[in-house]
């Protein structure tokens, strides 16, 4: 029977590791995702994700931990964006396009130079749960929990910033500092999510659960909580489907999230 087979697979170590890592990830991607949706920053998330490939290339070149090098490069891109936004008269989406595709192209070129390293590009683009080791699980949980703590600290200023930037500034909030911390948190999520959903689909994990939660929420905190639960459900359901149907993990998780969004549209709003 199919469920007996599924039960067997659930016992596999790599499956448990992937599940643990994915649930840790949804802990931070849910609350952060609602802010990405509110601030219309989906393209920003995509830009950081695109830059991840260059992070991988540099990590291989300098023999660094790949997640760390992805995090550092994403943080660099986020700061570069803030600086460009202040110095340039170009629109934000133009700057984002420049950074996204510039870093992606340089990343691909840099990887092609490294003949001695065999890289499975697809694994980075779409995730590879088989590559999730025990150490990864710990790192993801540590990253998610410290990210969550940081987000809790800037929660109210960040919320104020989404509502009205001037009002927030009059209340004594430093918009630039709060925005920078938020961008670094998105960079953290992208580094953490790379092995599970892959860089191409990371933004989906931020925005789809948040978009699904919107109809069922009456307050900002409630929306963040519901988005987290929906994200966790998508991770668990997607990993399960991936094993059962032998499909790639990242796309399966995102497809599950999209399916949950569709189901949410059918049910009456809260």
């Amino acid at each position: 029977m199919w469920y007996a087979r599924a039960g067997e697979m659930m016992m596999d170590d790599f499956m448990l590791r992937a599940l643990a890592a994915g649930l840790g990830l949804s802990l931070i991607s849910g609350p952060l995702g609602v802010f990405v949706v509110w601030q219309r920053m989906a393209y920003f998330g995509d830009t950081l994700a695109h830059s991840a490939l260059l992070g991988i290339a540099l990590g291989l070149l300098f023999d660094l931990n790949l997640q760390l090098s992805v995090l550092l490069l994403a943080a660099f891109v986020a700061i570069a964006l803030l600086v460009l936004q202040q110095r340039s008269h170009l629109a934000s989406d133009t700057l984002l396009g420049l950074l996204a595709h510039g870093t992606l192209a340089i990343g691909l070129v840099a990887i092609s130079f490294q003949d001695d390293v065999r890289i499975d590009l697809l694994a980075y683009l779409f995730g590879d749960i088989l590559a999730v080791g025990t150490a990864d699980v710990w790192w993801i949980w540590a990253g998610a929990l410290s990210g969550l703590l940081l987000l809790a600290l800037i929660w109210r200023p960040l919320l104020n910033l989404c509502v009205h930037a001037d009002l927030a500034a009059v209340d004594g909030i430093n918009p630039a500092a709060v925005k920078l911390i938020f961008m670094l948190l998105v960079a953290l999520v992208i580094a953490a999510a790379m092995k599970i959903v892959g860089v191409l689909l990371i933004t989906a994990l931020l925005i789809i659960p948040a978009a699904t939660a919107h109809r069922f929420s009456r307050g900002p905190e409630q929306m963040a909580l519901i988005a987290t639960l929906i994200g966790a459900l998508a991770v668990a359901g997607g990993l399960f489907a991936s094993l059962l149907l032998d499909t790639p993990a990242g796309p399966s998780i995102v497809a599950t999230a999209a399916l949950l969004f569709l189901l949410g549209q059918i049910r009456p709003a809260a």
């Binding site: 949706v37 509110w38 601030q39 219309r40 109210r156 919320l159 104020n160 989404c162 509502v163 009205h164 001037d166 009002l167 500034a169 009059v170 209340d171 948040a210 978009a211 919107h214 929420s217 009456r218 307050g219 900002p220 409630q222 929306m223």
Partner: protein, 253 residues
């Protein structure tokens, strides 16, 4: 606040990208004083508000605030993301303050029945009241109101002005208000500052009752809350905003 002056601007000028938005603006705000800033579109009213709030640094002159001055700011409009579920009560606590403060300020502004409503569904007049309640949450020494009655009909305006005067009396706060109407200002206004990049004139408004034409227009009740401001300009502005003195000649002073 024990200081004599809450807020003082001296020779304020703002030049952004080689465009002069304000020049040589002086103003002063004392405790409990109500100052109304008027001027045509593009005159720099909002720039002056941003200077007063400390959101913008003057490129000339200086602005000084009384130490520890708390300003309650009511912005012109709110552009909330539609995707953010935000009940009015939660919006009020965003700048700090407990449930008791929410209740007190909501009662004062007459919005207690709206506390559970989503922000996005409010009417224009309701939004203005909620924004005023939010400004009150900080227990301010100074209320900074940027076009508080825009989108409210003339009856609603009278009611809103009465509310502001009551708040000034009960809470001893000063009020600095930007108004879009060049001739009718709040009756309780102590001083009117008419600006068009620079201060064109300033003074005290007259009671509407002294102007029968306005009285016919609005009727006794609303006329109580409004005052007529008579401008006494010694110059006018050409289309580029340059000062034109009577008798010819352009100058920028």
């Amino acid at each position: 606040m024990t200081t004599e002056t809450l807020l003082r601007g001296e020779g304020l000028g703002v030049t952004l990208r080689e465009r002069q938005l304000l020049r040589q603006v002086d103003f002063k705000l004392k405790p409990r004083q109500i100052l109304t800033v008027i001027g045509p579109n593009g005159a720099g009213k909002t720039t002056l508000v941003r200077l007063a709030l400390g959101l913008l640094k003057p490129t000339a002159g200086r602005i000084s605030r009384a130490p520890g001055l708390r300003i309650g700011y009511m912005p012109q409009r709110l552009s909330l993301p539609d995707s953010m579920p935000l009940p009015v009560g939660r919006f009020l606590t965003l700048g700090g303050g407990d449930h008791a403060a929410v209740l007190r300020n909501a009662t004062e502004t007459g919005i207690t029945q709206l506390l559970d409503q989503p922000m996005q569904g409010l009417s224009g007049g309701e939004t203005q009241r909620v924004l005023l309640a939010r400004a009150l949450m900080r227990d301010p020494h100074l209320l900074m109101l940027d076009e508080p009655v825009q989108g409210i009909d003339i009856n609603g305006q009278g009611e809103f002005y009465r509310l502001i005067v009551r708040l000034r009396d009960e809470r001893d706060c000063a009020v600095m208000m930007v108004s879009h109407d060049l001739h009718l200002v709040m009756a309780a206004t102590d001083e009117v500052l008419c600006i068009n990049q620079h201060v064109c004139c300033s003074g005290h408004p007259d009671m509407v009752t002294r102007h029968p034409a306005y009285l016919d227009l609005f009727g006794e009740i609303d006329a109580e809350t409004l005052a007529v401001y008579t401008h006494h300009h010694d110059h006018r502005h050409d289309l580029d905003g340059h000062v034109v003195r009577p008798g010819g000649g352009n100058d920028d002073g």
